[in-house]
């Protein structure tokens, strides 16, 4: 048998069920590798000793009917974990110990999984390179001094480096799909309302969704079946019949109508991305899909809309960090002074920038011109998708307009950083599901991803299309363990 860390999640589960491997052996393998991989800075909080104890407990009293029996998993540090520090990558929550568990992580532990620890991310999930974290930037396992993407950068890096067999991230404007694309892994942003937001540190509530990050599409289907659930603790959770997405997974792409939106051919897009997209189109066509040119005319307005809606919601959500009930507090000469100093010292620059944007667009006299305007454009963007989905079953695009960039390359120009999310943001604005799968490498050997966008609650369909493309593409991640 190959090394434990080289197995997919589905294979690990099978091996544990067949008693070829114990939970302790698996957990130990990941812990040992994480100990050798500190240079990547993927973990904010390690919980290895507890994980090993839990693995022992599982082996002494195993339940093989669970879907993740004794499987160790590290998660993004945006999910509240009961009695284990949850920071959201921020100084303001540096010492916060939640008294409750997020529904999504609860679902995973209920299926027998074991928490390894909490993974680095951009502060409050605001960033596209994991450089805004108070706990330092994350290194990509692809190459030294390369960003893993963001905001789920620690998650992407830990998975691609094989420090965890799967992980979960959150995606507000591309925070699962962009880092997945940068590190050669699979990432799914589910339909809004599919996975509960309860216990996830809130960024922009009308856009936030949790989703799986995995080595392949089968693993993704398994994880999605587990984390998606109706939850009355989240007022926008939707009560619909969830499937066993893994059981129903098949390579059905034949006869599927796949739309290619012309507006995604953006100016200045590198030829490598163009070629990758064409490769995806060719494969889909050869596999029997019908390729249809479509138009999403308001695509160009998605990013400006996002940079009004998301900061507006963030400024409201982050109003709770005032230094009173939890988190960091700075001394002030009176209450107001304490608030102002706490928030000035507790938040990093990107978070402050977005709170300022949000406060401005919601302030008296500017609300109509910015926030209301953005909500109206958001409607137009959603209408574009509704129109196109009368003609096609799914949409195929590149995941990002470029491959990963160097650490520090884009930190001085917020707008150039925001442009990273040009292909992912429209999907969040419309509440749709989308999956990024690794599809090739650029000249430098950095991974590139393709994105398949589905109709609302049509995750099974995009998983099936991804499964079919994955086989033909036969992507192999080139990770040479440079940090060990």
């Amino acid at each position: 048998m190959s090394n434990i860390i080289d197995l997919t999640l589905v294979d690990l589960v099978e091996n544990i069920k067949k008693k070829n491997l114990s939970s302790k052996e698996i957990t130990k393998a990941y812990v040992e590798r994480a100990e050798k991989s500190k240079k990547l800075n993927t973990y904010i909080t390690e919980d290895f000793n507890n994980a090993l104890k839990k693995a022992d407990n599982f082996d002494n009293n195993p339940d093989f009917d669970k879907k993740l029996p004794g499987i160790p998993i590290a998660v993004k540090d945006l999910f509240c974990t009961q009695n284990l520090r949850t920071t959201a990558g921020s100084k303001i929550l540096e010492n916060f110990i939640p008294t409750y568990e997020s529904t999504v992580t609860d679902n995973i532990w209920n299926e027998g999984a074991i928490l390894l620890g909490k993974l680095n991310c951009d502060e409050f999930a605001m960033g596209s390179s994991n450089e805004t974290s108070f706990f330092g930037n994350v290194q990509s396992p692809v190459a030294e001094n390369l960003v893993p993407g963001g905001s789920s950068g620690g998650s992407a890096s830990a998975l691609a480096a094989k420090l965890t067999p799967t992980t979960i991230g959150t995606d507000t404007g591309g925070s699962i799909r962009q880092p997945a694309s940068f590190t050669g892994i699979v990432g799914l942003k589910p339909t809004y309302g599919s996975c509960s937001r309860y216990g996830i540190v809130a960024f922009a509530s009308s856009l936030d969704q949790a989703g799986p990050m995995t080595h392949d599409v089968k693993d993704c289907a398994l994880m999605f079946s587990i984390i998606s659930s109706y939850d009355n603790k989240d007022s926008t959770s939707i009560n619909f019949k969830r499937e066993d997405y893994l059981k129903k997974l098949n390579k059905s792409i034949k006869g599927k109508k796949i739309g290619i939106p012309k507006e995604y051919r953006v100016e200045g897009m590198p030829k490598e991305i163009e070629d990758l997209w064409q490769k995806g189109i060719n494969i889909a066509k050869e596999s029997g899909a019908e390729i249809i040119d479509v138009s999403l005319p308001n695509t160009n307005y998605a990013l400006p809309t996002y940079y009004i809606v998301a900061p507006a919601e963030a400024s409201s959500n982050l109003a709770r960090y005032d230094g009173v009930k939890y988190g960091f507090r700075s001394k002030g000469k009176n209450l107001i002074d304490m608030y102002e100093k706490t928030r000035s010292e507790g938040f990093g620059n990107e978070v402050k920038r977005r709170i300022m944007i949000g406060t401005y667009v919601l302030s008296s006299g500017y609300y109509d011109a910015y926030y209301l305007k953005a909500q109206k454009v958001r409607r137009l963007i959603k209408n574009d998708f509704d129109e196109v989905y009368k003609k096609v079953d799914a949409i195929l695009t590149p995941s990002t307009p470029s491959s990963a960039f160097k650490i520090g390359e884009k930190t001085n120009n917020p707008v150039s950083m925001y442009l990273n999310d040009i292909f992912t943001v429209p999907i969040n604005l419309a509440g749709l599901p989308a999956i990024s799968i690794p599809a090739g490498h650029d000249q430098k050997g950095y991974p590139l991803g393709l994105q398949i966008i589905g109709k609302t609650f049509d995750e099974q369909n995009i998983l099936n299309i991804a499964y079919s493309l994955e086989e033909e593409i036969n992507f192999k991640n080139k990770i040479n363990d440079w940090w060990i």
Binding site: N95, F96, I97, T99, Y100, Y192, G193, S206, N232, S235, T236, I238, N298, Y301, L303, P304, Y307, I308, S315, D322, G323, V324, K325, Y326, G327, R329, G332, K333, N334, L335, D337, M338, Y339, E340, K341, R343, S344, K352, R353, I355, M356, I357, T359, Y360, S363, L372, K373, A374, Q375, K376, V377, R378, R379, L380, K382, P414, V415, L429, A430, G431
Partner: protein, 95 residues
């Protein structure tokens, strides 16, 4: 339109984030470049578009208001930045 230093300072007051002069100037430049980018939306005619407030078409559900967590008072207070085992403590607000 441009955002001047005075506006930046006003927003920082509203957002309860103190700024020194240097940070305020840096933010002025950042915000202007971001709003320059956002300005693009004015090209669009949205007079016939209804604002989209939620992508999900559901009525908000009511649930019973029940206490589910038990005996976590001490744990909650432990997260408080000012050490006091019975209350949340803030600087004096009434003279």
């Amino acid at each position: 339109m441009t955002i001047d230093l005075k506006t930046v300072k006003k927003i920082s007051k509203l957002a309860r984030i103190s700024l020194d002069e240097e940070k305020a100037k840096k933010l002025e430049a950042d915000l202007n470049s971001i709003f320059e980018f956002i300005k693009k939306l004015n090209q669009l005619d949205t007079s016939k578009s209804e604002p989209l407030t939620s992508v999900v078409d559901v009525k908000l559900q009511l649930r019973k208001d029940e206490i589910k967590s038990q005996n976590i008072r001490d744990q909650i207070l432990k997260n408080s930045p000012d050490e006091n085992k019975d209350f949340f403590v803030v600087p004096k607000v009434v003279e």
